[in-house]
């Protein structure tokens, strides 16, 4: 009786957990691991951003979204906002698309701070471009280093690619790439803000299924969970003896 009650309670907790991750289809624990890895990376990235800007930087609680691919532009609702984006793909076995997106104005402000120019209007395009590329290099670099240090997975980014266009036009390229693999996409996203609200950067990551598996497996090894985790145990009503055995094993 008490065993059953506990199990029902646990199921409830797990369902709450699912809501927090804004994820409905994926395994709760696996998503939790990815989210945790992302949070570690985002913390380091925020620190380095703060060092570049010499300002206090706030980060939003990182989120993992599990979207139907075509719903993403609707979710961000930034259709024609001019955006500066830096695309840094990961190469070799850990294939992954990383995007750092800033509104153009904000990108220019950051570039001005980085190059110590008094006003963003005085900067020419090549200078802005290389400043923002450098920013992405530093941010994504520290993000990946943190994850790589933790999980011992080799993550090698390709050189950054700069692009300035409207939000939808940039993002649909990546959505198409995701859509060719599956009709759902797992998107990790976090938001960096300076105190005065000058910079508002979105770091968006589309991990490939292979990289997801690799990171989850390595993290589980680290935590000592070697067996695949089963979040919900379906219990037949008349088999209480078996339940005790099962719960003991999992504990």
């Amino acid at each position: 009786m008490s065993q059953k009650d506990e199990q029902i309670k646990n199921k409830g907790m797990k369902k709450k957990g699912l809501c927090r991750f804004t994820c409905t289809n994926s395994d709760c624990v696996d998503v939790g691991i990815l989210l945790e890895l992302g949070s570690i990376g985002a913390g380091h990235a925020a620190t380095s951003l703060s060092e570049i800007l010499q300002q206090q930087v706030l980060i939003d609680v990182p989120k993992i979204h599990n979207f139907a691919v075509h719903e993403l532009p609707k979710f961000y609702h930034k259709h024609d906002v001019p955006t500066t984006a830096i695309y840094m793909p990961l190469v070799e076995e850990s294939e992954c698309d990383i995007l750092l997106m800033l509104e153009v104005e904000e990108a220019n402000k950051i570039a001005a701070i980085m190059t110590m120019t008094p006003s963003p209007d005085e900067l020419d395009t090549p200078m802005r471009q290389s400043a923002i590329e450098e920013l992405a290099n530093i941010l994504v670099g520290s993000f990946l280093t943190a994850i790589s240090d933790f999980t011992a997975v080799k993550l090698i980014p390709a050189p950054p690619q700069w692009i300035e266009d409207s939000f939808d036009a940039i993002i649909d390229n990546f959505l198409i790439k995701q859509a060719m693999i599956s009709n759902r996409a797992l998107v990790f996203d976090t938001n960096f803000r300076t105190m005065d609200g000058a910079a508002n950067a979105i770091l968006m990551i589309f991990p490939s299924p292979r990289l997801q598996e690799l990171l989850i497996q390595k993290s589980k090894e680290l935590c000592g969970i070697t067996e695949p985790y089963e979040p919900e145990i379906i219990v037949p009503e008349d088999a209480e003896v078996n339940i005790v055995g099962n719960t003991n094993q999992t504990n």
């Binding site: 609707k74 024609d80 906002v81 793909p89 409207s166 939000f167 959505l175």
Partner: protein
């Protein structure tokens, strides 16, 4: 639903830039710096015409005189116009071929299913069999430096749309495809004119 939300970010952005663009603005035409982003709001283009946004993998058909708006990069926007009955529709497709996901229940995601479905929808609201004309835009390769094997997705999309239009016997009147920049398409269903604005400020009417 989403279209009815206020467009605060766009308008705010425009206001911030208004001072600098005022210098280059003449009556009736807006000439902008090369680096100045060309973002248009409904108020700037034509205040009397309502704009309806079409989402990714979505479709809208209208018989009222509105502008159907969508933004594409590597995706392709297909505009179908029925000039006799003054109605039309716009579909925003993502991928060329639906055979890789046979169970997907989104006909407007794929070029080969979107064109017949759009033609059917336009004919349904007009109520009569009439000649349809098509205009397409998009199919850009946003990152030309990234290594591609063979054709890019944008090019494949455009090719698939053209073949499917030929299969459905819809005449292609105009196109603005390729390149490495995003496009904002506003398609007037009354006149059948599609206005394409690219980010750098160039405007093209087809």
């Amino acid at each position: 639903m989403l279209n009815s939300l206020p467009r605060i970010p766009l308008i705010r952005f425009w206001n911030n830039h208004q001072k600098s663009t005022m210098l280059n603005t003449t009556i009736g035409a807006c000439i902008q710096f090369e680096t100045m982003p060309c973002i248009t709001t409904a108020a700037q283009t034509s205040p009397t015409v309502e704009e309806v946004r079409v989402d990714m993998a979505g479709m809208k058909v209208e018989s009222k005189p509105v502008e159907l708006v969508t933004s594409v990069g590597s995706c392709v926007a297909i505009c179908l116009h029925d000039s006799t009955n003054k109605c039309g529709g716009l579909a925003h497709i993502m991928l060329p071929d639906s055979s890789i996901f046979p169970r997907e229940n989104l006909p407007f995601k794929f070029a080969d299913t979107a064109v017949p479905a759009l033609a059917k929808a336009v004919r349904k609201i007009s109520g009569k069999e009439a000649m349809l004309f098509a205009k397409i835009a998009g199919g850009a390769n946003m990152f030309p430096n990234v290594r591609n094997d063979g054709l890019s997705v944008g090019e494949k999309n455009v090719e698939a749309v053209k073949t499917e239009l030929a299969n459905c016997k819809v005449k292609l009147l105009g196109e603005d495809v390729g390149g490495s920049y995003g496009r904002r398409i506003s398609f007037n269903v009354n006149t059948g004119i599609a206005t394409i604005r690219c980010y750098k400020g160039a405007v093209k009417r087809i």
